[in-house]
Symmetry: C2
Subunit: 113 residues, 2 copies
DNA sequence: CATATATATAAGTTAATTATTATATAAGCA
DNA sequence: TGCTTATATAATAATTAACTTATATATATG
Protein backbone atom coordinates (compact mmCIF):
# COMPACT_ATOMS: atom_id res chain seq x y z
CA UNK A 1 0.00 0.00 0.00
CA UNK A 2 1.32 3.42 -0.90
CA UNK A 3 -1.07 5.69 0.95
CA UNK A 4 -1.40 5.19 4.67
CA UNK A 5 -4.45 3.16 5.47
CA UNK A 6 -6.21 3.79 8.70
CA UNK A 7 -5.95 1.04 11.27
CA UNK A 8 -9.62 1.45 12.15
CA UNK A 9 -10.70 0.97 8.58
CA UNK A 10 -8.51 -2.10 8.27
CA UNK A 11 -10.19 -3.55 11.35
CA UNK A 12 -13.55 -3.09 9.66
CA UNK A 13 -12.33 -4.87 6.53
CA UNK A 14 -10.83 -7.70 8.56
CA UNK A 15 -14.02 -8.15 10.54
CA UNK A 16 -15.87 -8.42 7.25
CA UNK A 17 -13.42 -11.04 6.00
CA UNK A 18 -13.42 -12.75 9.38
CA UNK A 19 -16.36 -14.93 8.50
CA UNK A 20 -15.74 -18.18 6.68
CA UNK A 21 -18.65 -17.73 4.29
CA UNK A 22 -17.65 -14.22 3.23
CA UNK A 23 -13.97 -15.07 3.10
CA UNK A 24 -14.65 -18.08 0.88
CA UNK A 25 -16.95 -15.96 -1.28
CA UNK A 26 -14.16 -13.44 -1.79
CA UNK A 27 -11.69 -16.16 -2.72
CA UNK A 28 -14.14 -17.67 -5.20
CA UNK A 29 -14.86 -14.25 -6.70
CA UNK A 30 -11.13 -13.67 -6.92
CA UNK A 31 -11.08 -16.56 -9.37
CA UNK A 32 -14.08 -15.26 -11.37
CA UNK A 33 -17.56 -13.77 -11.20
CA UNK A 34 -20.36 -15.76 -9.63
CA UNK A 35 -24.08 -15.34 -9.21
CA UNK A 36 -26.20 -15.55 -6.10
CA UNK A 37 -27.81 -18.90 -6.84
CA UNK A 38 -24.39 -20.48 -7.35
CA UNK A 39 -23.37 -19.35 -3.90
CA UNK A 40 -26.59 -20.77 -2.50
CA UNK A 41 -25.61 -24.14 -3.98
CA UNK A 42 -22.00 -23.93 -2.87
CA UNK A 43 -22.66 -22.98 0.72
CA UNK A 44 -25.93 -24.86 1.14
CA UNK A 45 -27.40 -21.86 2.85
CA UNK A 46 -30.69 -20.08 2.35
CA UNK A 47 -30.79 -17.47 -0.40
CA UNK A 48 -31.43 -14.53 1.95
CA UNK A 49 -28.40 -15.46 4.03
CA UNK A 50 -26.25 -15.40 0.89
CA UNK A 51 -27.76 -12.11 -0.29
CA UNK A 52 -27.06 -10.51 3.06
CA UNK A 53 -23.42 -11.55 3.05
CA UNK A 54 -23.03 -10.22 -0.47
CA UNK A 55 -24.68 -6.96 0.47
CA UNK A 56 -22.20 -6.43 3.28
CA UNK A 57 -19.30 -7.02 0.91
CA UNK A 58 -20.90 -4.67 -1.59
CA UNK A 59 -21.59 -1.97 1.01
CA UNK A 60 -17.87 -1.96 1.81
CA UNK A 61 -17.13 -1.70 -1.90
CA UNK A 62 -15.22 -4.98 -2.01
CA UNK A 63 -17.50 -6.46 -4.67
CA UNK A 64 -19.73 -5.11 -7.38
CA UNK A 65 -22.86 -6.51 -8.97
CA UNK A 66 -23.95 -6.77 -12.56
CA UNK A 67 -27.41 -7.79 -13.59
CA UNK A 68 -27.62 -10.24 -16.46
CA UNK A 69 -31.16 -11.23 -17.24
CA UNK A 70 -32.65 -12.95 -14.24
CA UNK A 71 -29.29 -13.33 -12.54
CA UNK A 72 -27.12 -10.98 -10.55
CA UNK A 73 -23.43 -11.64 -10.97
CA UNK A 74 -20.99 -10.48 -8.35
CA UNK A 75 -17.32 -9.82 -8.93
CA UNK A 76 -14.33 -8.35 -7.12
CA UNK A 77 -14.19 -4.56 -7.29
CA UNK A 78 -10.57 -3.97 -8.23
CA UNK A 79 -11.00 -0.22 -7.97
CA UNK A 80 -11.60 -0.32 -4.25
CA UNK A 81 -8.97 1.46 -2.15
CA UNK A 82 -8.49 -1.69 -0.12
CA UNK A 83 -8.21 -4.03 -3.09
CA UNK A 84 -4.40 -4.38 -2.88
CA UNK A 85 -4.69 -5.10 0.83
CA UNK A 86 -7.45 -7.64 0.35
CA UNK A 87 -5.70 -9.38 -2.54
CA UNK A 88 -2.66 -9.95 -0.43
CA UNK A 89 -4.84 -11.85 2.01
CA UNK A 90 -6.74 -13.78 -0.64
CA UNK A 91 -3.51 -14.82 -2.34
CA UNK A 92 -2.57 -16.79 0.71
CA UNK A 93 -5.76 -18.82 0.72
CA UNK A 94 -6.10 -22.23 -0.91
CA UNK A 95 -7.70 -22.27 -4.36
CA UNK A 96 -11.45 -22.84 -4.38
CA UNK A 97 -11.83 -23.99 -7.98
CA UNK A 98 -13.05 -27.40 -6.83
CA UNK A 99 -16.23 -25.78 -5.56
CA UNK A 100 -17.10 -24.46 -9.02
CA UNK A 101 -16.14 -27.77 -10.62
CA UNK A 102 -18.52 -29.50 -8.26
CA UNK A 103 -21.25 -27.11 -9.36
CA UNK A 104 -20.45 -27.87 -12.99
CA UNK A 105 -20.70 -31.62 -12.36
CA UNK A 106 -24.05 -31.16 -10.70
CA UNK A 107 -25.22 -29.04 -13.64
CA UNK A 108 -25.70 -26.02 -11.43
CA UNK A 109 -23.10 -23.75 -12.94
CA UNK A 110 -24.58 -20.64 -14.53
CA UNK A 111 -22.62 -19.83 -17.66
CA UNK A 112 -24.45 -16.72 -18.61
CA UNK A 113 -24.44 -15.21 -22.16
CA UNK B 1 2.92 -19.42 3.39
CA UNK B 2 4.39 -22.76 2.41
CA UNK B 3 1.90 -25.18 3.88
CA UNK B 4 -1.70 -24.77 2.88
CA UNK B 5 -3.59 -22.86 5.50
CA UNK B 6 -7.20 -23.67 6.01
CA UNK B 7 -9.63 -21.00 4.96
CA UNK B 8 -11.72 -21.61 8.08
CA UNK B 9 -8.75 -21.03 10.35
CA UNK B 10 -7.85 -17.87 8.49
CA UNK B 11 -11.39 -16.61 9.03
CA UNK B 12 -10.94 -17.14 12.76
CA UNK B 13 -7.66 -15.22 12.74
CA UNK B 14 -9.18 -12.39 10.72
CA UNK B 15 -12.15 -12.15 13.04
CA UNK B 16 -9.71 -11.85 15.92
CA UNK B 17 -7.80 -9.09 14.13
CA UNK B 18 -11.05 -7.49 13.02
CA UNK B 19 -11.32 -5.45 16.18
CA UNK B 20 -9.53 -2.12 16.32
CA UNK B 21 -8.27 -2.64 19.86
CA UNK B 22 -6.77 -6.06 19.16
CA UNK B 23 -5.42 -5.02 15.76
CA UNK B 24 -3.70 -1.99 17.27
CA UNK B 25 -2.37 -4.15 20.12
CA UNK B 26 -0.82 -6.52 17.57
CA UNK B 27 0.76 -3.64 15.67
CA UNK B 28 2.20 -2.19 18.87
CA UNK B 29 3.52 -5.60 19.93
CA UNK B 30 5.02 -6.00 16.48
CA UNK B 31 7.22 -3.04 17.39
CA UNK B 32 8.14 -4.43 20.82
CA UNK B 33 6.84 -6.09 23.97
CA UNK B 34 4.34 -4.29 26.15
CA UNK B 35 2.70 -4.92 29.49
CA UNK B 36 -0.96 -4.89 30.43
CA UNK B 37 -0.94 -1.62 32.33
CA UNK B 38 0.61 0.15 29.35
CA UNK B 39 -2.24 -1.02 27.17
CA UNK B 40 -4.71 0.19 29.78
CA UNK B 41 -3.12 3.65 29.49
CA UNK B 42 -2.93 3.59 25.70
CA UNK B 43 -6.50 2.49 25.06
CA UNK B 44 -8.07 4.19 28.07
CA UNK B 45 -10.06 1.07 28.75
CA UNK B 46 -10.64 -0.86 31.97
CA UNK B 47 -7.99 -3.39 32.90
CA UNK B 48 -10.28 -6.41 32.58
CA UNK B 49 -11.26 -5.36 29.07
CA UNK B 50 -7.58 -5.24 28.10
CA UNK B 51 -6.83 -8.56 29.79
CA UNK B 52 -9.69 -10.20 27.94
CA UNK B 53 -8.48 -8.99 24.55
CA UNK B 54 -4.98 -10.22 25.34
CA UNK B 55 -6.29 -13.58 26.43
CA UNK B 56 -8.06 -14.04 23.13
CA UNK B 57 -4.87 -13.26 21.25
CA UNK B 58 -2.96 -15.62 23.52
CA UNK B 59 -5.51 -18.41 23.17
CA UNK B 60 -5.00 -18.27 19.42
CA UNK B 61 -1.25 -18.38 19.97
CA UNK B 62 -0.63 -15.00 18.34
CA UNK B 63 1.02 -13.57 21.43
CA UNK B 64 2.90 -14.96 24.41
CA UNK B 65 3.26 -13.67 27.92
CA UNK B 66 6.26 -13.36 30.18
CA UNK B 67 6.02 -12.49 33.81
CA UNK B 68 8.54 -9.95 35.07
CA UNK B 69 8.04 -9.08 38.70
CA UNK B 70 4.64 -7.59 39.15
CA UNK B 71 4.17 -7.08 35.44
CA UNK B 72 3.13 -9.38 32.64
CA UNK B 73 4.73 -8.53 29.33
CA UNK B 74 3.15 -9.62 26.10
CA UNK B 75 4.97 -10.09 22.84
CA UNK B 76 4.32 -11.45 19.36
CA UNK B 77 4.71 -15.22 19.14
CA UNK B 78 6.85 -15.61 16.06
CA UNK B 79 6.63 -19.38 16.23
CA UNK B 80 2.93 -19.43 15.53
CA UNK B 81 1.91 -21.14 12.28
CA UNK B 82 0.03 -18.02 11.27
CA UNK B 83 2.81 -15.61 12.09
CA UNK B 84 3.90 -15.08 8.45
CA UNK B 85 0.29 -14.49 7.50
CA UNK B 86 -0.31 -12.06 10.33
CA UNK B 87 2.93 -10.14 9.74
CA UNK B 88 1.95 -9.49 6.18
CA UNK B 89 -1.16 -7.76 7.47
CA UNK B 90 0.61 -5.85 10.23
CA UNK B 91 3.27 -4.61 7.81
CA UNK B 92 0.63 -2.68 5.96
CA UNK B 93 -0.56 -0.79 9.03
CA UNK B 94 0.73 2.64 10.03
CA UNK B 95 3.41 2.70 12.71
CA UNK B 96 2.12 3.10 16.26
CA UNK B 97 5.33 4.32 17.88
CA UNK B 98 3.68 7.62 18.77
CA UNK B 99 1.46 5.80 21.27
CA UNK B 100 4.49 4.55 23.21
CA UNK B 101 6.17 7.95 22.97
CA UNK B 102 3.07 9.50 24.49
CA UNK B 103 3.29 7.00 27.34
CA UNK B 104 6.93 7.91 27.85
CA UNK B 105 6.08 11.61 28.04
CA UNK B 106 3.41 10.93 30.59
CA UNK B 107 5.85 8.84 32.59
CA UNK B 108 3.74 5.74 32.18
CA UNK B 109 6.15 3.66 30.15
CA UNK B 110 7.31 0.52 31.97
CA UNK B 111 10.95 -0.06 31.11
CA UNK B 112 11.45 -3.29 32.98
CA UNK B 113 14.88 -4.67 34.04
C1' DC C 1 2.79 -8.25 58.23
C1' DA C 2 -0.29 -4.76 56.10
C1' DT C 3 -1.07 -2.18 52.14
C1' DA C 4 -0.65 -0.98 47.34
C1' DT C 5 -0.09 -2.30 42.56
C1' DA C 6 -0.67 -5.46 38.59
C1' DT C 7 -3.18 -8.90 36.59
C1' DA C 8 -6.74 -12.50 35.85
C1' DT C 9 -11.18 -14.43 36.13
C1' DA C 10 -16.28 -14.67 36.86
C1' DA C 11 -20.81 -12.97 36.33
C1' DG C 12 -23.93 -10.08 34.25
C1' DT C 13 -25.55 -6.72 30.65
C1' DT C 14 -25.95 -4.77 26.30
C1' DA C 15 -24.97 -4.67 21.55
C1' DA C 16 -23.83 -6.81 17.32
C1' DT C 17 -23.93 -10.78 14.25
C1' DT C 18 -25.87 -14.49 11.70
C1' DA C 19 -29.23 -17.10 10.51
C1' DT C 20 -34.35 -18.09 9.54
C1' DT C 21 -39.04 -17.28 7.77
C1' DA C 22 -42.10 -14.39 5.29
C1' DT C 23 -42.83 -11.32 1.68
C1' DA C 24 -41.92 -8.20 -2.31
C1' DT C 25 -40.04 -7.34 -6.93
C1' DA C 26 -38.42 -8.33 -11.42
C1' DA C 27 -37.25 -11.13 -15.36
C1' DG C 28 -38.23 -15.27 -18.29
C1' DC C 29 -41.34 -18.56 -20.25
C1' DA C 30 -45.67 -21.50 -21.28
C1' DT D 1 -51.29 -13.23 -18.74
C1' DG D 2 -50.19 -16.42 -15.23
C1' DC D 3 -46.43 -19.28 -13.35
C1' DT D 4 -41.68 -20.08 -12.28
C1' DT D 5 -37.10 -18.62 -11.08
C1' DA D 6 -33.79 -15.28 -9.12
C1' DT D 7 -32.98 -11.89 -5.95
C1' DA D 8 -33.72 -8.47 -2.23
C1' DT D 9 -35.59 -6.80 1.94
C1' DA D 10 -38.00 -6.92 6.50
C1' DA D 11 -38.90 -8.91 10.79
C1' DT D 12 -37.40 -11.88 14.10
C1' DA D 13 -34.86 -15.35 16.84
C1' DA D 14 -30.55 -17.30 18.45
C1' DT D 15 -25.91 -16.83 19.21
C1' DT D 16 -21.80 -14.46 20.05
C1' DA D 17 -18.97 -10.53 21.42
C1' DA D 18 -17.49 -6.70 24.22
C1' DC D 19 -17.68 -4.20 28.01
C1' DT D 20 -18.68 -3.40 33.06
C1' DT D 21 -18.44 -4.45 38.03
C1' DA D 22 -16.91 -7.42 41.56
C1' DT D 23 -13.54 -10.35 43.28
C1' DA D 24 -9.31 -13.29 43.65
C1' DT D 25 -4.29 -13.82 43.38
C1' DA D 26 0.41 -12.58 43.27
C1' DT D 27 4.20 -9.47 43.75
C1' DA D 28 6.32 -5.39 45.88
C1' DT D 29 7.11 -2.23 49.50
C1' DG D 30 6.67 0.41 53.92
Amino acid sequence: MKTTIEIEQVAVILKLLGDKTRLTMMKILDEGACCVCEFVEIFQMTQPAISQHLRRLKDMGLVQEEKKGQWVFYSINKNNVYYPFVTQILNQLPCQKDKLEDLEKRGKRISCC
